[in-house]
Amino acid sequence: MYEIAGVHHVAIGVKDLETMESFYTGLLGFQTTPQGSPAGPQEIMSGITRGVTPVFAARMLSQGTDAIVVEFLQMVTPVPRPIRRDFRYGDIGANKMAVAVSDVNELYSELKNKVDFCFSPRSVELPGFGAYNFVYCKDPEGNLIEFVSGEKLPTDNKIDGVRWVGISVTDLDRSLTFYQKYTGFDTLFVKPHEHFSGLVDEVSGSKQTKVRSCILASGKGGGMVELFEVLEPRGRSIPSYTMWGDFGYLQTCMICKNVPEIAAYFENEGLEILLELQRMPGPEVSFTYVRDPDGVPLEFLSFGKPG
């Protein structure tokens, strides 16, 4: 029987591994884990790069055992390029990470001269959550990061790791149904609401942004997913020529038990398979990639023998 226990990692295609690693470890307190790999061919991933054997380096960073791991991928082959020349808040796909912090205002004061913040901290009352304090910034390559604090988000450290990945969708209700059914998110951590409307104009580039969103969690723990539908201004689809490894947020990976069984289930359900079931030689690691209703890549990963 398979189980899905939340988000394990989020992958970002990067131009400069060293600069990105330096930002995340030096300024945000992440630690590099041993799971990375130097640049080399990864035949097992050739299905996702349209038959070309990809050559890339990977580095994994994390903050604490429960937080979502951030994976940087620096592609060599195929030659990567930006997914988009510029970023818009509502652009479809994984496009932000939310990092839990003990106090957003304090963090902002400390980092405002070192980090590219999009605006100063804001607070909004969310039903069932209470005061939601947040601020957005961009990392050195323009990827969006949200810092959040609130009573419902207890922390052990000043910066306490990535708690959820933000995925922009076309139709929140449709995506909510999909993620609840297929990705194991059985709990609504924050129910659908529109309270962020007008509060993220600087990142959407438009006045009076209208946005609906919710945060999904798994009862089995692990990282969460925020789904948000920007109603005004609408974002853009993932460009059809986008290649895995291009610069920007690439995928969200769920940690599971028994991926082979999940892969068979997805196939039976008619989900769009992006990469068929792969088993790593040696260690008992298996994974598969599917697309959500908007074409957003989702990875399902399991370690150890199927239960």
Binding site: R81, R84, R85, D86, I92, T170, D171, R174, G205, S206, K207, L231, P233, R234, G235, R236, S237, P239, S240, Y241, P293, D294, G295
Partner: protein, 553 residues
């Protein structure tokens, strides 16, 4: 970005399963690369217009109305296009659907006596012209060629045309029209709205054309035009353009009452005088346009030789440029334009020819010798009357775009042509971004409105749409022409639609438009358009080609 199955089914119920698709491969056939011809935004490499949610092919006004109502229900943007000439015909957002109007392709009526035709969106100029000629009439073929839709030109564009001097712009020929407005209501204008037929575009009171057309045409951003009546004008030629020859050297042998010439002058000042005299003289100027300079001042003679000789290809171009006779004939055509005289009788054409000869004699002009050769003349007549060779815009390197945009009275505009040509020639010599054609690729109409009054010019620039370096170099060139053009009164049409669409193929936001419009001296027209859109398109489902500015409170 994809449409939910439930919404898809609602649209499918309107047009049927065979006339809707959200297949990515199908949708990708409706995108346009931003590095080919954006008419006029300037090229951008590796960018495309959005794919959108779905494409639908409505078959009737009722289906169009039902689609628009569903779009309002779900707040989905939409854009209808007939022949998708440049990115103006493509949607500007991903949360949008494309209406491909190809199923509505009927000429509903040709009223021979009252000289008009009633057409649907996908009737193209060539078809309408062929049918009109059967009853001794003709239609304005726009500069974009006979494969474009006269309805689209008349209702949502200006319809600039080499036939404008005689037959008017297409928008001037618009009679009654049927319009599914952005809010889903149907408006039938003028006599049609009173169930009196199609003969008149407006009734008593304020005219509606300005409302639906906007300053320069709404480009499909203001609802869907489903039928319209187009005024036709006399065609004193045969009932079909029988052609012979071998591709690409097709030619039409026409009766002697139809004559085509390439007229030229030794200076731009004399050229301007000649244009004024032609306007004043009353000769037909059935077609009056500087056409073949699209190939470039230094290359056009050789290109005409290639196009009229089936044994030649573009690979012969360089060798032909060394031919002294081609060089001489090319020099003859340095400051030229093409004119067709159409006599209603033989006496009429004889009089028109005499008048033209007199004007040329008195202004120092002449008829270019190459274009008087019978084979070339017959080829040129077919080319110009049909305007079916738009592919030749792309012949050098796969991409083209016009720059500058000189408009106005001949004595103002014609001398400026040389400034624009010299500016481009310098770039051609100093860089390798686009075709070296002699600087002067200044195409232009010799009569912006019926009867004359203004000339209009754009400088074609032929670049390699597959080369990032060529596209970027051309983009940089257009940055330079925009600056130079604005400083020296040469216009900046290469950026005309950059106010509506960004380099990445997506629509400008309201804020971006406001920022650009705030620099304009007369922004009120856009404030009025804002008010009109608020009434007719409250859900803002049209794209940014209907340019608006929120009035100051």
């Amino acid at each position: 970005m994809t449409m939910s199955k439930e919404k898809y089914r609602e649209f499918e119920d309107v047009v049927g399963p065979d006339n809707i698709s959200d297949d990515p491969a199908m949708l990708d056939s409706y995108i346009t690369p931003m590095c080919q011809s954006q008419h006029h935004m300037g090229p951008a490499y590796d960018e495309f217009t959005p794919r959108g949610l779905a494409v639908l092919m409505p078959g009737s006004t009722e289906e169009v109305q039902a689609i628009v109502k569903l779009c309002n229900k779900h707040k989905i943007k939409f854009k209808a296009s007939s022949t998708f000439w440049t990115s103006r015909g493509n949607i500007s957002d991903d949360y949008a659907i494309t209406l491909d109007m190809r199923r509505m392709d009927h000429i509903l009526e040709i009223d021979e006596k009252n000289q008009f035709a009633v057409i649907e969106p996908f009737v193209i100029g060539a078809t309408l012209q062929a049918e009109a000629m059967k009853v001794g009439l003709n239609t304005t073929i726009i500069g974009a060629g006979s494969s474009c839709s006269p309805l689209a030109s008349a209702c949502a564009n200006g319809g600039p045309s080499p036939f404008a001097l005689y037959g008017g712009l297409t928008r001037e020929n618009l009679l009654s029209f049927e319009w599914v407005m952005p809010n889903g209501e149907i408006l039938r204008s003028g006599s049609l709205g009173s169930e009196l037929g199609w003969f008149c575009d407006d009734g008593p009171g304020p005219g509606l054309k300005g409302v639906m057309m906007a300053g320069q045409g709404s480009m499909g951003a203001m609802g869907v035009f489903t039928k319209c009546a187009i005024k036709l004008f006399p065609w004193p030629g045969p009932d079909s353009l029988a052609n012979d020859g071998i591709i690409p050297a097709y030619k039409a042998t026409l009766p002697p009452n139809i004559q085509g010439h390439t007229v030229a002058w030794p200076s731009w000042e004399a050229y301007a005088d000649g244009v004024y005299r032609i306007w004043d003289s009353g000769i037909s100027g059935y077609y009056a346009h500087r056409q073949y300079t699209m190939f470039g001042r230094d290359l056009k003679g050789a290109m005409i030789r290639i196009l009229t000789d089936p044994t030649k290809t573009i690979d012969d171009l360089e060798e032909m440029l060394n031919d002294p006779e081609v060089q001489r004939q090319n020099e003859e055509m340095k400051r030229d334009f093409q004119i067709i005289l159409a006599g209603m009788t033989m006496r009429d054409i004889e009089w028109q020819e005499k008048v033209l000869d007199k004007i040329l004699a008195e202004t120092g002009g002449y008829k270019a010798s190459m274009m008087e050769e019978p084979d070339v003349k017959d080829w040129s007549l077919l080319f110009l009357l049909r305007l079916g060779h738009k592919n030749l815009n792309f012949v050098y390197a796969g991409g083209y775009e016009g720059c500058f945009g000189i408009g106005g009275a001949p004595d103002h505009a014609c001398p400026k042509v040389e400034m624009a040509a010299e500016f481009k020639r310098k770039w051609e010599q100093e860089h390798d971004y686009f075709a070296q054609a002699g600087g002067d690729c200044m195409m232009g109409g010799m009569g912006g409105i019926g009867g004359g009054g203004a000339t209009a010019w754009e400088n074609f620039t032929h670049f390699d749409s597959h080369s990032a370096e060529s596209v970027q170099g051309t983009y940089d060139f257009f940055e330079a022409t925009s600056k130079y053009g604005m400083e020296h009164g040469l216009g900046a049409m290469e950026r005309m639609y950059a106010i509506s669409r960004r380099d990445d193929g997506y629509a400008r936001s309201q804020e971006e438009q406001a920022q650009r419009l705030s620099r304009m001296s007369q922004p009120h027209v856009y404030e009025y358009q804002w008010k009109i859109r608020e009434i007719l398109d409250p859900n803002k489902l049209g794209d940014a080609y209907y340019v608006t500015l929120e009035p100051k409170k």
